[in-house]
Amino acid sequence: MIIYLLCLILFCCGLYCILRKRNIIKIILGIIIAEYAVNLFFILVAYRMEGRSPILSSDVEIVNMVDPLPQALVLTAIVIGLATTALMVALAMRIYEKYKTFDITKIKELRG
């Protein structure tokens, strides 16, 4: 219970960073933090008390394994996060090239 809450607090740290910071790189960092939090949350809900990792061994029989499905899904989610981050960094660097700044209050050619 408390641990879920701590995890969501981490998510909200990222959310705060995205919503309030005015620097492009800070916004990207906020998204990375929020992604970490969601991934951790997914693994947390899969954990089993006194669990073992879901890898079988040929000699001993392992009981009480943790849930393998969320682990597989988080692997996918990490890759998707990496892809989005790479794309955003590329955009940020091109924006820097054009405007010579990372400050989004100074990058305002479009009206909201």
Partner: protein, 182 residues
């Protein structure tokens, strides 16, 4: 499980440092610390596959981000309605957490997942796919279609980065532009 709490608090502190630090390079490194903490937490939670992937992805992300931030000017500005906007954001987050706390009561308790489908994977994974790493059998056999999607997302990102990085995007009518294809 006390180490997990310590790690999570460490990660939250790292995240707050990353958010509030004035120097961007320090922020990026603080995020690196958060990622490292996450990797150790995943190891404690018995997810070695994810921990390895998280670690290597973290390193790559960090290198790319440091490259992006190195030797750039770092102006910081606070807009006019700073207090109002912050209050709205914090208010939204408080409401969000409040709804979440209520929802947590209905979730299965931490450490006791339901595992309806997962038990099938654990029991039949080895016999039906032949892979002793159950996570590998899930991502590449039971749910290989997801992995196709995942590989495609990465492919899309590579082509997307190549497209964004082009120096000349538009050309005039009948203009011949030297295209630097990579």
């Amino acid at each position: 499980m006390i180490e997990l709490y310590v790690l999570l608090i460490f990660m939250i502190i790292g995240a707050i440092i990353a958010i509030e630090m004035k120097d961007i390079l320090s922020s990026v490194i603080a995020v690196g610390a958060v990622g490292l903490g996450l990797s150790i937490a995943l190891l404690i939670l018995k997810a070695p596959d994810v921990a390895i992937t998280q670690l290597v992805v973290e390193i790559l992300c960090l290198i790319i981000l440091i490259r992006a931030t190195l030797k750039k000017d770092l102006p910081f500005s606070t807009t006019g309605r700073w207090l109002l906007n912050t209050l709205i954001t914090v208010g939204f987050i408080v409401v969000f957490l409040f709804v979440a706390i209520k929802a947590f009561k209905d979730l299965p308790e931490f450490g006791y997942p339901i595992m309806r489908i997962a038990n099938t994977y654990l029991k039949e994974g080895l016999v039906r796919t032949g892979a002793s790493n159950i996570v590998a059998s899930v991502i590449l056999d039971f749910r290989a279609y997801d992995t196709l999607g995942e590989a495609t997302v990465l492919f899309t990102a590579v082509i997307g980065v190549l497209a964004i990085i082009r120096r000349i995007g538009r050309k005039k009518k009948d203009e011949v532009v030297e295209e630097d294809d990579e």
